[in-house]
Amino acid sequence: MAICTAAGALRRRGIDEFHGYELAKQLADINDRKLLTAYGTLYRALARLESMGLLESRREDPAVAARENRPGRRLYRLTALAESVVRQSSTPRRRTSVRRRRGEAPA
């Protein structure tokens, strides 16, 4: 879920497709940490989300990578299913925080 949230945050910044390192930095920003997610943890989670249908990925055009003289990236993007999941999970959290701010007991 944290990955989907981070991907949603990237999307709000206008980044529809992201690569692993970009996502790791976004995750660290959200959690206010300096240490990035471990290689194994990050790419294993990405593979699982892809198999669950929450992410889809493609290899970057090799010409672009060659032009910029760097290795080719694997670019991920959220699927429609993942966006609805993120939306559903973020909505009740906001309501709870409003209730807490008002001093009401959560339902």
Partner: protein, 244 residues
């Protein structure tokens, strides 16, 4: 990238090659390319210093080892017939080990290599020791409560023959007699210069073996004629048979 950062990056690459070794080429290459891309992006990130880069790479590598292995094993799919054969073979192996273990627990003497024939003294089994005297007041139907094992031994020595001065008969443990446990045990050892039996070992080690070992350790031979001589080798066979 500094030399140290390049070294850490090489470690990350090596580890990635290791845990993706012998995987399907598509999966293997995809993971290696992703890691390569990540390394490049992090090394060209202007927001972090070289020191931070090294720390990040080391921590990301070490904290992800378990996940790398878990991912690797999740990718391995074993065909059902291969899994069945492996489990069957493992079961057969366990059975064989169990049988071997049980056979070692019996009282038969294992086929240990015999010592060289040169200079060997062979002593036939001694007659059973006389029964202990009956306790005062015992009736005519009294039977001795202890039985002994029958010993035969051989000594291999380079010099003159070693003479056995003190021989202690191994007691046939009453528990073994009651449990009808019979068999032979082999005791090996060396005879020191002063005639003591040292460096002893027994096979099989059990209740009979312990009794035989305890007795042989109390044996005493005459002193060696020469101090430069290598210690003589002693082999004792003890047979425990219940009295009819």
């Amino acid at each position: 990238m500094t030399g140290f950062a390049a070294l850490v990056a090489a470690c990350v690459r090596c580890w990635t090659r290791l845990y993706t070794w012998r995987m399907p080429p598509a999966v293997r290459d995809a993971r290696r390319e992703e890691i390569e891309s990540d390394l490049w992006e992090s090394s060209h990130d202007p927001a972090i210093t070289q020191a931070e880069l090294v720390v990040q790479m080391v921590m990301r590598l070490t904290l992800g080892l378990a996940d790398d292995l878990a991912w690797r094993f999740a990718q391995v799919t074993v065909p059902r017939h291969v899994a069945f054969r492996s489990v069957t073979a493992l079961g057969v192996l366990c059975m064989l080990l169990l049988v071997a273990k049980l056979s070692r627990m019996t009282t038969d003497v294992p086929h240990l290599p015999e010592p060289p024939l040169a200079g060997r003294q062979v002593h036939r089994p001694l007659p059973d020791p006389p029964p202990p005297p009956p306790p005062p007041g015992a009736g005519p139907g009294w039977k001795p409560s202890l039985q002994y094992g029958r010993t035969s031994y051989s000594v291999v020595t380079e010099g003159p023959q070693r003479v056995l001065i003190t021989q202690v008969q191994p007691i046939y443990p009453p528990v073994a007699v009651a449990g009808e446990l019979e068999g032979s045990v082999l005791v090996r050892g060396k005879i020191s210069e002063d005639g003591r039996v040292i460096d002893t070992e027994v096979a099989p080690a059990g209740i009979l073996g312990r009794s035989a070992l305890h007795a042989v350790q109390q044996w005493k031979f005459d002193a060696a004629a020469s101090r430069t001589m290598r210690p003589a080798l002693l082999t004792v066979t003890v047979r425990f048979r219940r009295a009819q």
